[in-house]
Symmetry: C2
Subunit: 293 residues, 2 copies
């Protein structure tokens, strides 16, 4: 049997270019990455999935996070995407290898390696501090990735689970946030300490003003949003999958509580997502008959 | 066909007496209720299920909470229990009616009505303040239950989602907790305000010292743990299902992260649960092959 004709392949590729970029996060934190992607690639369409029924991932075991990430990715691929961005540090750390194995022909990008590269670009002392969720810290993905990219760089990590809850609650300034940051950062920036603080959770950029006010002035804050967007742009271009022009749309999928997603999303996105574009989906294979309308 | 003989029925009832009391919570908060139950009924066996893979419930939609509660209850009944205590305010509010319909022949007790009764017993002014999760507050179960029990009592509610994260993180005192409480309680206890503060989430009793230090001295704190235990004792006695003597055991089931449960449980329970008694279970019907060992 003959393979597909050149013409047929071109039609398929042309259709593929217009497919959205899939973005997956445990909830709203990944919207900081979506925002950076839209700034870098405004012509693209995006399909964002927030697993709001099971947020937060940061305190779950890696096996559970991997199972959740696979379920989420499967749904996005069923809907049709041309690339997958895992916009959640915990899921990137636990599942990126599994997801690349599941989808070998598609660009699958996480936020860990772009974040590690951004931190390495910024440090002069070779000492990097990372704040992240408990799951990301315990998995050790950042020290491992940083040291695979460059020998002899020291990485000190702090698990800051409460910052996720603060960001979700919308408490991004004031004494509670300041107190939490002081407690988490205690002793982290000593005289010979780090000169870079990597925000190793996509929730944390919304707290960056408060973080900036707490860390010494010589410490540079970096996050993975902009770097991840740059990597995705480069890799889509290499695969000839960039849309040439137009203004892209975003469609949102959430696994629970559309109203709450809409309310909290604006803070992470810089603009309200628009209720009409938020769709409730179910990632559990074993579904009960009862469903949210 | 003849029914079971009297002797046979007696044997079944005797075996049933030794079955554990099932307790279900989204995570570790329900351990404050388990603690009260063990103080009231030390001779009983307990089977505690913490849905740690999907905690917190307080920000989920009622439909999702109901689905989770039904899955959890089904597992406990499959294991064999003589009564079910829903030791989670959010799940009690969303699912108690459904669970009683699912299991009409078994005692199914939640924490909402016992908590409401405790608050009514304590108030002299007829003004009750309730702090709870977002889900419990939005569902309005406390005002509804209080007013069904007694007319003309005012109930002011505050959603305090962050307190769950603080309790789970083990930050039960210090400036962050104090700041969060001050922010949540702002204006709640004015001159003619409430004289009772009902802790409408089973996580909150571990913060009671900090809460006590924040509210005016004339305000009495009540929680549903002790009242729920008293109700369960009364109803088990009425059904002739109380164990006469002995010292009961506790077996724990969790849906994720045994190590984290063990670490945080001690704070809620007043003693470490013991690793050997914690079992990892899966509530999803659609299971992936990969499982935590």
């Amino acid at each position: 049997m003959a393979g597909p004709s050149k013409e047929h392949t071109d039609v398929i590729d042309a259709a593929r270019v217009d497919l959205p970029v899939g973005i997956f996060d445990s909830g709203v934190g990944g919207l900081t990455v979506l925002r950076a992607l839209r700034e870098t690639l405004p012509q693209e369409n995006y399909l964002y999935l927030g697993d709001t029924a099971r947020v937060p991932y940061g305190t779950r075991s890696p096996e559970t996070v991997r199972r959740y990430a696979r379920q989420a990715s499967r749904l996005l691929f069923e809907r049709g995407i041309k690339a997958l961005v895992v916009a959640c540090n915990t899921a990137s750390a636990a599942a990126i290898t599994a997801l690349r194995e599941d989808h070998p022909d598609t660009l699958v990008e996480g936020v860990i390696e772009p974040g590690a590269r951004a931190a390495l670009d910024a440090t002069r002392t070779g000492r990097i501090a990372v704040i992240a969720t408990e799951g990301t810290v315990q998995g050790g993905a950042y020290p491992r990735t940083v040291n695979a990219l460059r020998d002899g760089v020291s990485v000190e990590q702090r698990a800051c689970s409460l910052l996720v809850a603060l960001a979700e609650e919308g408490w991004i300034d004031g004494p509670v946030v300041a107190g939490a940051l002081e407690r988490y950062f205690d002793g982290l920036f000593e005289a010979d300490g780090a000169d870079v603080l990597l925000l190793g959770c996509t929730h944390f950029p919304v707290l960056s003003d408060a973080i900036r006010a707490t860390v010494p002035s010589h410490v540079q804050l970096v996050d993975s949003a902009a770097t991840t967007a740059a990597v995705v742009a480069r890799d889509l271009a290499a695969r000839k999958l960039l849309r040439a022009n137009g203004h892209g749309e975003v469609h949102y999928l959430v696994t629970d509580n559309v109203a709450r997603f809409e309310r909290t999303a604006a803070r992470f996105l810089g603009a309200a997502p628009g209720h009409a574009r938020i769709e409730l989906v179910d990632l559990n294979e074993g579904r009960e008959t009862e469903r949210q309308s």
